[in-house]
Amino acid sequence: MTDPTKKPTPAGLQLDNVEIFQGPRKLLGMHAIIGPGEILTLMGASGSGKSTLISAIAGFLPRSFSCTGNILLNGQSITSLPAEKRRVGVLFQDPLLFPHFSVLQNILFALPPGGKMAERCDKARSLLHDISMGEFADRDPDTLSGGQKARVALARVIASRPNALLLDEPFSKLDADLRDSMRQLVSAEVTRRKIPTLLVTHDKADAIAIDGPVLTL
């Protein structure tokens, strides 16, 4: 883990004395820098406010909570930006593929706007190909298996070219044998694309498999 006392580096996701309150009660505080391609694992029991931290960073903190401190992404403060301008991708426990779109349309929805439709489709297909889902492009997401859905959800968030990625227990609902291959896939994608990543989990096996710095709440 990068030493938080060092001078702030411009690259990566920086949580500068971030504290989250529920009413007057302090839920958690965090001070950390996550470098490009680095995965910081945050361990905590359920109810410790892990998911709330993710909401705060992604920009959809419920009104009953408040957040102090500063969140910086590549040196720029995103603390007061609305969620859609933060360029912070989130993977939830559930894949949450849009049920009214096909697999390909889910990816197209995520791609940043611009370019001809044919080019966009090519881009989306190659992203699906990267996760070996190329032949499922025109499928109804509801007909995919749990593992396939999880991979499409990963491809979708990658397609939006996020500057940081937040993982909210994304492996907890997968079968044990799928879990490991999904961890490797996520870890490989994140490293390859140099995306600073925060993983929150209550499962020690996640922390061990990801093999990065670990913080415990």
């Binding site: 909401s55 992604a58 920009g59 959809f60 903190l61 419920p62 009104r63 009953s64 007061s80 609305p82 969620a83 859609e84 301008k85 933060r86 360029r87 912070v88 991708g89 989130v90 939830f92 559930d94 949450l96 849009f98 049920p99 009214h100 096909s102 929805f109 995520a110 940043p112 109804d140 997401p141 509801d142 007909t143 979708r156 968030v157 939006s160 996020p162």
Partner: protein, 572 residues
């Protein structure tokens, strides 16, 4: 966050204006007219009264006033009691069986049948010259001509209550279905495993929670039944009629001084409806204590087989009566010669249809325009309200629920009657947009009540995903939430359309007779008793909402044919 300056923030104010300003206007109009306050819009074109309290005295001194008032009170309570009992017993009997979903599928279209149509169907079925007596005549009954029985328009209002019950059953069924998912009905199994009877288990473990949620709709049933106009004009007693019908006569009296009597009558109507609701309230307390006493004594009530059988029978009968009624309306519309003891017409003809074609078309088109306008505008307002609740992270409060129910809890004759005074004063009555606006007061609550549940159970993490993918709140609304919720949105629209098509009093009073629709025409025909013509209007009046319901069902199915995640899944 930074959604504070959103234009959606004015939506609650708009809704309050739509629902509460008319109430204020109606109250002022009625009080002002009845008590002869000077200088308001209500005092325009009124003869000065002899004394301020004269109007109430005039109402109370009308011959048969107490009978009329008593009828309204009694019909309100009777209708609510019987329909609620049937629905509750039925759901208690069938909740855990697969039948349930199937039966609900049959009930839903009945919801779209306008009150007046169900009433006409019942009339054609049970009247002395109706289908039932024809079936047994002359062979079994020996009747060569219709017997002189007071089966309909009976002085106790029983046929009126029956006609109302036919439509309140699907309504209460519908609101109960919406309340059920929030209750854990595995509790009945615990009670059943202790040896409690099936119905009694439901009554002890699930009913209290469900009832709390459907209490306002039940009050709405009491209010509606105690003050209905259209059904009372078809099935209600005539000498004297119910109070609300008398008020309508006073309102339409060419003698303008009768308007003060009408206003006083409308205020008394509100009091009677309130009294009926208060009586019900006392009844609730009684049932609560009796139930608690029986439960604490451990009474099991195991032998409920007969009750279960009865509940199924009554429920099936109610659906059957409405369906047969519709068939009879269709038969009459195509009937040529159909003399009394014949069960079926001897000659079939299109003459009724061709004779009425141009007026059917004109009133049908107008009804459709009004209903499309009222349902579309209300739907837009409901969507804005719900989206505003989501964005400001606030749910409708208890007070807001009462506000939404206000138009359904205040007797229409008082509400719309009072409102029309203002419309007449400023000569905006009789216009199409005035009718649409007043219909919206009634379509908005129904659309809101239908849509709020699916809207709020939607997994908002989909929206979080969309926003973290760089889409704005508005984009997420249009491209994610609305398409995924297309089915409930269209279903709510269809219900709003049906509600508007069925509106009688607002169309009549605010339209000032210049905006006739299928419903006002059909009821105007009721007194004439021409069954063939009534059949044509009632049939078209039913077909319009049914078509919209069918489309609302079909469009999402076709659009999302290849999307398994959006298909209806069985309730179990």
């Amino acid at each position: 966050m930074n959604a504070k300056s959103s234009p959606l923030a004015i939506v609650p104010a708009l809704v309050l204006a739509l629902l509460l300003i008319p109430i204020g206007v109606a109250t002022l109009s009625l009080l002002g007219t009845a008590l002869d306050w000077k200088g308001g819009w209500w005092s325009h074109s009124l003869e000065p009264l002899q004394s301020a309290s004269g109007s109430f005295e005039a109402v109370l001194n009308t011959p048969g006033f107490w009978t009329s008032a008593g009828l309204s009170y009694w019909i309100g309570i009777l209708t609510a009691l019987i329909s609620l009992t049937i629905v509750m017993l039925f759901i208690a009997t069938f909740l855990s069986s697969g039948w349930f979903v199937w039966i609900w599928g049959i009930m839903k279209p009945v919801l779209a049948v306008p009150h007046a149509v169900a009433a006409f169907g019942l009339l054609f079925l049970i009247a002395p010259s109706g289908f039932l007596i024809r079936l047994v005549s002359p062979e079994l009954s020996g009747f060569e001509r219709p017997p002189d029985w007071l089966v309909v328009n009976d002085p106790a209002g029983l046929s009126l209550a029956l006609g109302l019950i036919l439509k309140e059953i699907p309504f209460l069924f519908f609101v109960t279905m919406a309340a059920l998912p929030q209750t854990d009905f595995r509790r009945t199994r615990i009670a059943a495993s202790m040896g409690y009877g099936r119905i009694w288990s439901w009554f002890l473990s699930v009913f209290p929670g469900v009832y709390l949620q459907i209490r306002l709709p039940v009050f709405a049933v009491i209010a509606f039944a105690s003050s209905t106009i259209d059904v009372a004009l078809i099935l209600g007693p005539v000498a004297p009629p119910t109070l609300s019908v008398r008020i309508l006569h006073w309102m339409n009296d060419p003698d303008l001084s009768m308007r003060t009597t009408a206003a006083a009558g409308a205020i008394i109507q509100v009091a009677i409806t309130l009294l009926a609701v208060l009586t019900w309230w006392a009844g609730e307390y009684l049932v609560l204590n009796l139930g608690r006493m029986a439960a604490l004594r451990g009474w099991r009530f195991k032998r409920d087989k007969f009750l279960r059988f009865l509940s199924s029978l009554l429920m099936a009968t109610s659906v059957l009566v409405v369906s047969v009624g519709l068939v009879l309306l269709a038969l009459w519309s195509f009937a040529g010669v159909w003399r009394f003891p014949d069960a079926l017409p001897r000659v079939w003809t299109l003459r009724s249809w061709s004779a009425e074609a141009s007026n059917l078309w004109a009133t049908g088109v107008r009804a459709t325009i009004i209903a499309l306008g009222a349902a579309t505008l209300s739907l837009a307002l409901v969507l804005a309200s719900l989206e505003n609740e989501y964005r400001s992270n606030r749910r409708a409060t208890r007070l807001a629920w009462w506000t939404i129910y206000v138009p359904l809890l205040v007797p229409q004759i008082a509400f719309v009657g009072g409102l029309s005074v203002l419309f007449i004063r400023f000569s905006i009555d009789g216009t199409l947009w005035a009718v649409i606006l007043v219909h919206m007061i009634f379509t908005y609550p129904y659309i809101y009540l239908t849509l709020s549940d699916p809207w709020n159970t939607f997994d908002t993490r989909y929206l979080s995903v969309a926003r973290s993918l760089g889409k704005s709140m508005n984009r997420a609304f249009w491209t994610i939430r609305l398409p995924i919720l297309l089915r409930p949105v269209l279903a709510a629209f269809a219900l709003g359309f049906a509600v508007s098509i069925a509106q009688y009093l607002p169309t009549l009073l605010i339209g000032a007779g210049r905006q006739p629709t299928l419903t006002t025409e059909a009821i105007a025909l009721a007194s004439g008793g021409n069954r063939r013509v009534i059949g044509t209007y009632a049939l078209v009046q039913t077909l319009l909402p049914l078509i919209v319901f069918a489309l609302a069902n079909l469009v999402p199915k076709l659009l999302w044919a290849n999307r398994a995640g959006l298909q209806v899944r069985s309730v179990e």
